[in-house]
Subunit: 401 residues, 2 copies
């Protein structure tokens, strides 16, 4: 195993999957709309997705990646030479990497309700010719999973080798195993929970409130008359940036903020004694920067819909008990949490694991050590690879692959 890890790390500096393109497919066109968990019917849904590697002849090597709140389908590689950075989980995916694209066919899709290509509030409503805005239907984690699952079927895949995701992505993984129990052979759930805590709902409520009280929110109808502009050029810019600032604090650990910024000042060794300096401390400057960057790439309405879907997520409530939720799948589970993650603490992962054990499922759980708080699942690639490589290999082997 050590040799494999070493190889994964060594090739991480290489080109990975290289250049990739986002693809689009229309699903749930009339007369077959998506039936949402609210009971409402909705369609058509355009799905933006990317794939890496090659689907095997037996169609038994596909791994689906579920992205987190503000992620997208572009999980690895670059779209063009102009890209400053590769996809959001690039170190994990590529030839010789943990999700080895010489072995596995990796799929990632932007979630329903998102703003990176899949139908969401900023998409044009065919009925009106204008963006949905607040007329977009209420969606749940289960609805996102239903769209993902339909995409996978459309790609000709009956059973996935694995579904993997962290945070909101991890919630999708759990929901997938409960909702489509025979469609996956492994479920890898990182830094997540079977339901959002009251504290998590509280922070989401603050973020949404920041957006909705911004005068430029205009009840969600802030898009340009000719259709949505580039992100960040219209709408509740200040509110969305503020929402990102507060959320960003919850993604970091106290230790990592203290180590990285501490009380260091941004441009001076001495206090300015000026209230108007809003970014005197480095941590302030960093948060303001994160807010600014975020509004360039994200839609405020999507932020409202997706955070609300997290609030609603409660697998036990939906299925009666967690045991019922997990009782119908033979998937092998790999659960990880991170010791400094206070947004999705280890106690929540242990609850999932306990229920899986009680249901007689195959489950492996580790609390990984990292200073990076909730963001660890995006950063601590080596520790994750060390588990993921043999776990997927064994899942594949047991499937007769």
């Amino acid at each position: 195993m050590a040799a494999e890890i070493e190889s994964a790390v060594m090739t991480a500096a290489d080109d990975g999957v290289g250049f990739v393109s986002t693809q689009f497919v229309e699903l749930f066109a009339p007369p077959h709309p998506l039936v949402l968990e609210s009971g409402e019917q909705f369609g058509p849904v355009t799905v933006a997705y990317e794939t890496y590697g090659t689907l095997s002849a037996k169609r038994d090597n596909a791994v689906f990646v579920c992205h987190a709140l503000t992620g997208d389908a572009h999980v690895a590689g670059k779209h063009s030479t102009d890209d400053r950075k590769p996809g959001w989980w690039d170190p994990l995916i590529g030839p010789g990497r943990a999700l080895d694209t010489t072995k596995y066919f990796v799929i990632c899709a932007n979630v329903l309700g998102g703003c990176q290509g899949t139908t969401g509030p900023m998409s044009i409503d065919p009925a009106t010719g204008r963006p949905y805005g607040a007329r977009f239907p209420f969606i749940t984690v289960g609805d996102m999973v239903a769209v993902h699952h339909e995409l996978v079927r459309t790609l000709g895949i009956e059973t996935l080798l694995g579904v993997i995701g962290g945070s909101l992505g991890g919630m999708q993984v759990l929901d997938w195993a409960a909702r489509f129990p025979n469609s996956l052979r492994s479920a890898i759930c990182l830094a997540a929970a079977s339901r959002l805590s009251a504290q998590g709902i509280a922070f989401n409520a603050v973020g949404r409130r920041a957006v909705t009280v911004d005068p430029n929110f205009n009840n969600g109808d802030y898009y340009h008359a000719d259709g949505p502009k580039k992100h960040g050029e219209e709408g509740p810019r200040y509110g969305l940036a503020l929402a990102r600032m507060v959320a960003h604090i919850t993604y970091l650990s106290e230790l990592s903020i203290e180590r990285k910024f501490g009380r260091k000042l941004q441009n001076s060794d001495q206090f300015a004694y000026q209230l108007q300096q809003e970014t005197e401390f480095q941590i302030e400057s960093y948060l303001h920067y994160q807010g600014k960057r975020f509004i360039e790439r994200f839609d405020a309405n999507s932020y409202l819909y997706l955070t609300r879907s997290m609030d609603y997520f409660d697998l036990a409530a939906k299925h009666g008990t967690l045991q019922h939720a997990f009782g119908r799948t033979d998937a092998r589970f790999l659960i990880t949490s991170y010791n400094t993650d206070w947004l999705f603490p280890s106690s929540q992962s242990r609850q999932i694991v306990t229920s899986l054990v009680q249901t007689g499922r195959h489950v492996t759980y580790l609390e990984l050590e990292s200073v990076f708080g909730h963001d660890s699942f995006l950063i601590e690639i080596e520790q994750l690879a060390e588990l993921l490589v043999p776990f997927l290999r064994e899942t594949y082997r047991r499937g007769g692959g």
Copy 2:
């Protein structure tokens, strides 16, 4: 001791200090302005304060209470029969209570920069006849302490039996011991730190940003032309409420939110599947309520100035080291932290205690157990009383009282 505690608890249901009035005094009038830590000169300063009990003939029984960020001088009793609630620390103060007003003379004053009677940004600038607003000078925790100390001198008290406070109040206690080392015989610092953490600065930055991006902030000049109106009737209402919502989350523990609210809905057993319902979960309704209540009693400019003073607070930086800061006082120290307080975690109190021990000071430290997070210092009165009663009695005895 047990009998004393019992007595304190039993009388807590009684009238306490009864009816009280806020008093006002003008300090730092020309030609003796306050020299602020920024170097700027400022005055006059009106101070709003209350006292409970009677100053002894020897003037050796006075205890000064430093309030936290959004507190005020009204720490105990009621102003009139119309008051729904007594002062903010009422269960701690009164005949037979821990700060026993039959023995001690208790003083509390609204801080410099506040909005409850002491000169702050909403006060009228005598030079212009209009509220200071953003022209109010930059203030520090040390400046607040300088005003408190001058008030105490004005009341004819050379040496306080004790100075007590939690959170920002605890910072004042530490600063007091460093700045006026011979003016106090004991220092009681609850749920505080010798400097604000990067995470604390981060949350304050978010709260200030919520205020400053509110269009009604108007660079701090939002007061009515005829002078400030009642709190909450003008200015950045939405921004200040939002700041309070996020701050309020940091004052509670995850456990207490989970126990009190969990995922319970406010008005239904079933999800509404309506994004427009901003207070569907009880925790959301609670936070919105806290925001609304707060703007009725607090000024947004004061919020900016006071949170910034917390950010700046760094006793070691100011004095070279914590050992230097604490090296000149013979005060007895009592330090407490609370096991579920993640805003001012126990590690920060331990740092204070270590420095005090290294400096050869008298110091007692306990981490108290409470589910209430940072707010514990306001709520866990019995545990505090159990320490405070004998600690103050012994301090008094050692003073030859």
